[in-house]
Symmetry: C2
Subunit: 281 residues, 2 copies
């Protein structure tokens, strides 16, 4: 899991991607709002804002803060992030192991044309990616190592699926941890990705603003080429992008087209099944 | 203000006495429950408890946690506790300056007959002072100094009122900070105390269990004698204890009796006026 959008706020370690995945798998997420916990309120954040502490545009719900306090406490005790995630997840029967990409703090910063350098969350949440991103910097990435268990999970996998997440700020940081991309290239497991771009548009979020900053077209084929034939053993695009399938396959990335827009767990599972089927080919 | 019942919980610095006084003066306290903020919920604490972090019998409300996060953040930045209190209080127009007794962490521990040594809060909140206290220890008191402004406030005061708070674990720690008792003895300002004991019973809380541990009777005169004629220039007892007034006055503690049981702000103000009048004599 990506930790590149983590941030320390009012002394608390906030891990938006980790927690979003955990909450969703546990079924306690706020599906309507798209982030945080269900049955939420913001009493603590209201107080912090009144005292000018934290980011008023990045309010965390009270349940969410309970997780941040717990995590920060364990980290301060010297517990590694992988073990922290394991403990947080152990409350629920998830059926999967969640691994952070690294235990070292890595924080994405954005250089904007209008206001210079800022934390990714400031650009993303406060400015809704509305300032022009010139480039991204992953502070701490050079000294980072994969978290315990990550390389073994890649080496021992039957298949690796690359989720249709933001290729630049979600998948990008994971691949940038020294050793992880190399492990994905080296593993015997097939690596199959799902396009986050459908018909030249991002399905969700503001990935186009990120892709533009790194000079990659907002296009299903361009994202596959960005990951590279060396990494990918397969690629799923939407039927709207079926035209790219033949070309990518010829370039060494076997590609199939099928509907990728999903709203239900059943549809998502069907897509995952097709991705695994492509991996077995 | 007493900081002797402070505790660090899940990495957050909790200051129950400081916050109770702040909330009450700001009018945002939960008067019915007797502690914490009004309009409260415990979403964050529920999460922490589910992860086994913190004390399940010492749940903090979400608004309360907002204050604890804010304080802990400022303390971690190197801000002194006196300045932290000033900032927390600056949100409201209190009309008074609040000063912690010391900026050094001081934590009261209780030696119990049944279960040995424990933090004061565990004895007080978890066991409702039901274990027999053999003695109290103020960890950190030896190295503590009065917080900035405390000695000047005592020296420059027109009068000093000693509140009818717990003589052992609320007033006691303040007097135990090296230099504070000496300053109260030395100041030109009259020092007048109010008895927390009415008719041989504690008005509120479980001060009797604390007094017993230090060998002081639960008695209005005994508490005055415990503070001592050197410290006190006056003492207010309830009419139920009028019999002690002559004796204490003869011992060098001018004492008056008047009703001390109050439920309204007006009654409290009238008592304070009588205390100040005694100070002026």
């Amino acid at each position: 899991m990506n930790t590149g959008d983590d941030v320390t706020l009012a002394g608390l370690r906030v891990c938006p991607d980790l927690d979003s995945i955990l909450y969703a798998l546990a079924g306690v997420n706020d599906a309507e709002r798209g982030w945080g916990r269900a049955d939420e309120a913001e009493r603590a954040a209201e107080e912090m804002t009144a005292w000018g502490v934290g980011w008023p545009w990045f309010t965390l719900g009270d349940r969410d803060l309970g997780a941040c306090i717990t995590r920060s406490h364990w980290l301060a005790e010297g517990v590694g992030l992988a073990e922290v995630v394991r403990r947080l997840a152990s409350r629920w029967d998830l059926g999967v192991a969640l691994l952070p990409m690294s235990e070292q703090p890595i924080e994405t910063h954005v250089h904007t044309a209008e206001q210079g350098r800022m934390h990714f969350q400031e650009w993303w949440v406060r400015h809704r990616a509305g300032l022009r991103a010139e480039r991204f910097e992953l502070d701490g990435i050079g000294a980072a190592t994969p978290a315990p268990g990550v390389l073994a999970a890649i080496a021992d996998a039957d298949a690796v699926l690359v989720a249709p997440s933001n290729p630049v700020v979600s998948i990008g940081p994971i691949l940038a941890v020294p050793g992880i991309r190399e492990a994905l290239v080296a593993t015997a497991a097939p690596v199959v990705g799902l396009s986050p771009i459908v018909g030249g548009r991002v399905v969700r979020g503001m990935a186009d603003a990120c892709l533009e900053a790194i000079g990659v077209d907002t296009d299903a084929a361009a994202v596959a080429q960005h990951y590279g034939a060396e990494l990918l053993d397969g690629w799923l695009v939407d039927t709207a992008d079926a035209g790219a399938a033949g070309r990518l396959t010829a370039e060494g990335i076997p590609t199939i087209a099928r509907p990728l827009l999903f709203t239900s767990v059943e549809e998502t599972a069907a897509i995952a099944r097709d991705a695994l089927a492509l991996a077995q080919r």
